[in-house]
Each structure stands twice: as C-alpha cells, then as structure tokens.
Amino acid sequence: MDSDRWERIQAVFHNAADLPPSEQRSFLEKACGGDESLMADVAAMLEEEARSDSLLDQGMAQVANQLLDPDVPAGPAFGELGPYRIVGVLGEGGMGVVYLAEREDLGIRVAIKLMRDAWLSPARRERFTSEQRMLAQLNHPSIARLYDADTLANGTPFFVMEYVEGEPLTEYCRRHRCSIERRLQLFRSVCEAVQYAHSHAVIHRDLKPSNILVKEDGSIRLLDFGIAKQVESLDRATDQTMTGLRLMTLAYAAPEQIRGSRVGIQSDVYSLGMILYELLAGAPPFDLSNLSTSQAEAVLLEQEPAKPSTKARQGSADGDSTSPAVSKAAWADLDVLCLTAIHKDMARRYRSVEALIRDIDHYLQGAPLEARPDSARYRMRKFITRNQRAVAVTAATFAIAVGLVGFFPVRLAKARNDALAEAARTQRIQRFTLDLFKGGDEAAGPSEDLRVVTLLDCGVQEAQLLSGEPEAQAELFATLGGIYQKLGKYDRADSLLLVALGERKKSLGADNRSVAETLVLLSLLRADQAKYDDAEQFARQGLAMSQRHLPPNHPQVAKATFALGKVLEDRGRYDQAIQVLDQAAKLQSAPRALPADLAATLSELANTNFYAGHYDVSEALNQRVLGMQRQIYGERHPLVADTLINLGAIQFQLGHYPESERFNRQALDIVQSWYGKDHPETADTMTILGQSLTYQQRFDEAAALLKQSRAILEHAYGPVHPRVAYALNELGNVAIRQGTLDDAEAYFRQAMDIYRSVYGDTNYQVGIAQSNLGGIYVERKDYVRAEQLFRDALKTYAKTLASDHSSVAISRIRLGTALLGQRRFAEAQQESRAGYETLTKKASPTVKWLQTARKDLVAEYDALHQPEEAAKFREMAAADSKNAGLAGKK
C-alpha cells in the first residue's frame, strides 16, 4: 500500500463512519466505484470500529501505564536482577530509569539502566547481545565499562554499567572555576576517549555534559557509550518516530542527527564541539528553553551560533561569570576551533576527533591551527552533494574514506595493523557502513554482505565523474588508493595513486607539497610491493620536495622522513635507516607532534635496530613504545600485540624461549580476539608462537599451530608470499627436529624459492633459507653440500648484514660443523671459534648455536691437539648438558 492509497482509504472511511450503520454499505458501493479491495479494506475498518474491543482500546491505557509509570513497582524482578541487587534509584530520564545495584559476589556497585518504553523481540535479542559484547570490549580508562546487557523475561532491555560517582563536566568546571587550560585538558581527555571508541568503530551518538562525569580525583568518565545506537535499534515503530520523543539530548545532537540522516564520527565531533562551546563561553550557543521541539530543531538546523567569545562577553555583561578568563588573542583561535567543530556541514567540521585533538594541542602550545575554511576536500564534498543523485553508496564510501583518513598519519607506520586493517575486519566494517547508512536512503543502501571493497569500487566510479574538479578528484583517488593499499590490493592502489599523481602535477605543477605527499604515498606502496628502487627514489623525491615547500618541522616533512627510513629498513640498509628514522623521531618529538606518530616511528626504529642485531637498543625502544601505546590505545589493541611480539622476538634471539613464549601468548590472545580466528594476523602470531614452542622441544604443539597458520595464510595471500614462506620455514625447523628430513627440505626449499622470487637474491631472508637448507645436509651427513649452502648464505649476508650480525655468526658456526664433518679441523676451528666469539656477545650462553659451537670446538681442538682449549670448551659443554637435563625436568 502506498500513501495515496492510504489517503483514499481514510477519506472513504471517515465519510462512511459518520453515517448511520444502515447507510454505510450503499455509500461504500458508490464511493468505491467498483474498487473491491478498497471497499473490503474500509468495510473491515468499519467493522473493527464497531467492535471497539481491540488491543488499542482495551490494552492501551494499561500498557502505557505499565511501561511508562515509574511508580509501577519494580516488582520481584527488580529486587534481584540476575546477580545484581537493586539498592536504589539513581535517576530517571526520557528513556528509562537508572538504578544503583550491587553485585555481592564481586563486591562492586553498578548502575543499571532499564529502558522503559522499549522492548526487544526475541529475534533481535541475539543482535542486541552481540552488539553489547562489542561495546563491552571498549576498554579505556576514561570510558565507563559496560558490564552486561540483557532483557527481562518480558523483553525489556537493560544495561549494566560501571557506577561512576562524579559531576557533569560543565558543572565541575563551573564550580571549580577552572582555568581555560584546565578546561581544555579535561576536554582533551574526553576527546581521547571518544577517539579510542571511534578507532573501535563505535560512535557515541549521545555525547552531552550529563554523560561526561568528572570524578573527585579529577579523572573523566564517559557514560553510555554506543548505547544510543542500541536504544535506537530497539523494536519500535520506526526510527523516525524517535526523534520526536527524544527531547532530552537535542541540544547536543548534530544537524544530521536531527534530520535523521546518516550518523558518523563527525556527529560525535559536533557534540564534542557543543560541549567545548559551553565550557568556553559558559553557556550553550542557543537558548532552547521555552521552545517546542520543532522550534528547537529549527534553531539548531538554521541559526548560526555566535562566536564563543561573543557569547562569553554577553554572559559576563549579564553578570554571569561562569566563563573562564581568556585573552583577546587567544579567543581568535578558540573561536575558530570551536566553530569548526560545530559546523553545520559535516564536511567542514574536523574530519575526525583526532584532528580536533591536534588543534587543541596546537592551541595549548601556541602553534597555528590546522582548521582551514575552504579545503579541497570541502570543495569536493560540495560537488558531491550538488550531485544529489550521487547515491548513498558514494556518500558512505566518502564518509568511510574521510573517517579513515583521519587515522592515516598515525598508522601509516604499521602497514599491518593500522586503523584500516582494523576497520576492514569484515564484520566491523559492515556494521560501520550499515551505521553510516542508517537513516539514509535504505532502498539504495547496501545489502548485508556488501564488502568494503565493493564500496570502494563504487567510490572509484563516482570519483571518475569528478573530472570537472581535478584537484578534488585527485584527492579522492589518493585517498581511495591509500585504502586499497592498506587492504593489500596493490594493483588497484597503484593505478589510483598514479592517476592522483598525474592529476596533481597537471593542475598544480610538478613541484609542490601535494605532489610531494603523493610521492610519499607511492613510495610506501612501492615498498609494500617490494619494488625497493622505486620506493627509495619516490621517498627521496617526496622528502626533498616537502622540505622545499614546508617548514622543517612540519608533520608532512616528518612523515616523508619516516617513509624514507621505512623504505631503507625494508631494503636492508639498516645503518642508514636508523639515522633517518632517528631524524623522524626527533621531528616528531617536537611539542606539536602527536604521540601516536612518535610511537609509530620509534617502533620502526626498534625494528630496524632489531634487524641490525642491536637487541638491547631494540628492547629499550620497544618497552618505551609499549608504554606509549598502552596509554594511547589501551591494553588490548593490535599495536600493543605487535610490540609484544617484537619483545618476544628479542627474547627469542637472546635464547630466552619461555619468556618469548609468554610475550607471544599475550600477543596471540589480543590478536585473536581482535581479528578473529581465521585472520592472517592471527596466523602470523601463531607462526611466531610456534617458533618459541619449537625451541622448547614442544614439537607437536608447534607443528599443529604452524600448519593451521600456513593454511590461513595461503588462503589469504596465495602460495607465493613472504608470510607463507615464514610459516614454511618454521614448519621446516620443526620437521628437522622431529627427524623427518625430506619434509624439512621440502619446506625450506619452498620458503627459499618464495623469498628469492619476492626479494631477489640479496635479501638476508634468502640467506636464512640457504642456511636452514644446509642444516638438512648436515643432518644427512652430506657435509660437502652443506658447506656449499652455508657459504652461499654467508655470501648473501655479506651484501646486507654487518659481519658481527648474529645470523652471520650462526652460519659460521654451522659452516664449522660442515667442515668438521669433512675432518678439515683447522678451517672448522676457525669458523666455529669466530662464530662463537661473535654470538657470545649477542646471545645468552644457552642458545642452541653456542652449544653446537662448544661441542664442535671440543672435537676440533682435540683433533688439533690443543688440550687446554679443548678442556675449556669441554667443561662448558658439560654444563650445557647438565642445564639441558634441568630444563628437561621442568
């Protein structure tokens, strides 16, 4: 039925209903003019009206009272709610009642929010609980925990949350007469918490002072995260009907929320901006008291807010001195900052909470703001909105792109674990995109199984329509290219970035900051594609060009420096890479830089030091990074897992296998719960954990993990990929220890072939594979072939590694074994001893290779008739086997 039809039915119904029943029939026949279904519908309605016994008549008052009257006693259900005991009422709002409850077995107090005008049909309960599980994963010191959510037997939903004693942010500032700096600091902590949630694809949607409490110790707690979304998705007639009923938070709702259109991270930016406004000016921008809902909506949608400075002046003129003292010069920046956050056009707001935080930092440090009125992005956005028919899909793609671009600079560092990979988790991105569509044109919206790549492809098509606005088009291409790169679609990324580069050169000239930025993006892509010459060339060009057009400490210069360091690291030029990354870290230690950028660079620096064999430096850096990341991202973030893996790798290199295992298990725990069980990230972490098990002789456990890992990786990347090679290498190591040499050889050869075809002959990974293959021939006592392979490995290393690198030392020890097997004692002794001396400085004495060297040296010195040396190593070798015995008992 459509609305015309419904109008017609109603018209006939009203006319007929006013007639005496005896005349209704003949009236209907005439009025419907042969439209039998119309007549049947109206007749049925008349019949219902005559009965007056429907639910709507009889049950309504009762139902409404039951649902709405807070005096309806909690009844037995409220005395005990699962494990919680209700002890009092904390408050009542438009949406429900909040109870204070205790959980006696855990000794904690909780707040339980019971939604009173909503219920949940059984079909939706499952989704409700799955969403609440996601929210429960938000683990941030400034976000009140959501412990539980469920429904009463009758379907009434409730949420169990951390109970927070504190006062609303605005009141706290007023009462304590907080300075402007203190206000901004408090506000910044609020932003950080919201940013954290956004990076977990959770949008608050209902930020307001009463949801932001300051505890007595001055710390912040955000309440009700993501609950607004859940409340909106509860079973109700329609979403539209809610806007009328939800009066309480209108003042902080973004225009797009009021209009009922797409809600995104920028809606939270807006609400934050409104709160900031109130903190600065001492009052909200609009006085909505005494206005009806629709009048208030009109004000919020149409009126431009006064500058906060103006509002503050008005306030103090009225004798209301709740706003803090601010100098005239400072107001200029604060006005821009605040008005940018609450711009009615989403596209002109800060594109992410992170950008808002950056500008607050800039303000606090007296640096110029980033907020600029007419960016290319804004022009592009306007173009897209002008083409209104530009389908919901574009809008959503665009919003994702914009949302994700906000994360870009922070995470470029970690190709594996950035916000994009994070958001690309299929389920999460689906939910995220569906969120973006919610309230939009649902008929044009995506189907349930629409993947992010499909959305991106649509975005590209739409971008091609932007040919009239080359700059905007180039920006969109570059953005989309970056996303494809993060998703591992290198070919697609490649062509888009090249198009973007070409467009920018054509419209802006060959030498400017935009071209420089594109070159840097391309260099990182080339590095991912293992095309290192191109990568380095692009990085150097991009850096030089950025330096020419920007001040020396500009973030883009730091980013370009970082990119060059990363490329040098990837191609194995560690000394140069360390120098360059050090420089990037220095730039990013400047006061206005973001700690997350610095953490990313330090992490890369730690990696480079690791590869270069400087384990102590690497460990110290990684510990520092770990602390920073936990602070920035929380305990259970993939970046934290990454750093744990790095720390595990260091322990592994030092021969501390149980310590290594411990780090790796912590990492696997995080990664698995973040990405899911079948994700390549999980597979990689399994491989690494398998390695630390192998070296503790737990072969069956290790092999099981590694096979699982290889299957996941081959499925994800195809058979020729370094990650697959890495898993194969580990499978080979296990096989060799289990004595299945043919299997081991097959694994090592496959790994070597993959490394060769990906990296060429000079990469140290190829050397490791050669060295491992040599180990097989040692086991088979084919010492001649073993010798050849070890010498090949050393030749490969000579091109990329320093002579005192532990991989070099290990290969020399292994070469010693191969020579000993050929009874070439003098040469053998030379290799064993040299390798031994180098490795002793780098690794713990219990490392397997040192033990091998000692055993070999005993035999060699015996054969060379050097009894003193032999005795020295014999004694140490005896200690080794004693230790091995002890370890075995553990």
């Binding site: 039925m1 459509d2 609305s3 039809r5 419904w6 039915i9 109603q10 119904f13 009203h14 209903a17 519908d41 049925a44 309605m45 008349l46 019949e47 219902e48 009206e49 009965r51 429907s54 639910l55 709507l56 008549d57 049950g59 309504m60 008052a61 009762q62 139902v63 409404a64 009272n65 039951q66 649902l67 709405l68 309806v72 009844g75 259900a77 005008d117 219920w119 049909s121 009463l152 037997a153 009758n154 379907g155 009434t156 079973d235 109700r236 007639a237 329609t238 539209q240 009907t241 009328g244 009923l245 009806s292 809902t293 629709s294």
Partner: protein, 76 residues
C-alpha cells in the same frame, strides 16, 4: 510487568503493523506511538505533533481501525 507476557504477541504484531504504517504515513505512526506507548492524551499528542486536536482525533480513529484490522489478520 508481568501482564506483558499475556499480550506480548499482540504488541509485537502491533509493532509490525505500525512499521507498515510508518512507511506510508510517518506522522500517523508517530501519533499512535505517542498515544499508545507514550501515554499521551489527545491535547498532548496534538502539541507534540503540532497539529490540531481534530486532526489527531481523525487520524487516530482511522489508524486505530486499520491497525485493529491488521492485528486480527495477524492472529489469522
């Protein structure tokens, strides 16, 4: 809160019927929701929706008859 169980099915059926109505005439659905779920009386509903009381009465009457019919069909 117990009575809910006894008329729970009806309410769910009503919810579905309301969704249908909301698609073609959101204002009317909102009105039913305010009246039925919100417990608003006629003047309150009129104020909320910014329409005259007569319009509320008229819309309510038709919507009620229509929804009752839908519910009966749902019961089958």
């Amino acid at each position: 809160m117990e009575p809910m169980a006894s008329w729970g099915n009806d309410v769910l059926a009503l919810d579905r019927a309301l969704e249908g109505l909301a698609r073609i005439q959101p204002r009317q659905a909102l009105m039913v929701e305010s009246r039925f779920f919100g417990g608003f009386d006629i003047p309150e509903t009129a104020a909320l929706l910014e329409v005259s009381e007569a319009t509320v009465l008229r819309d309510w009457r038709a919507a009620k008859a229509w929804l009752a019919h839908e519910l009966r069909q749902a019961e089958g």
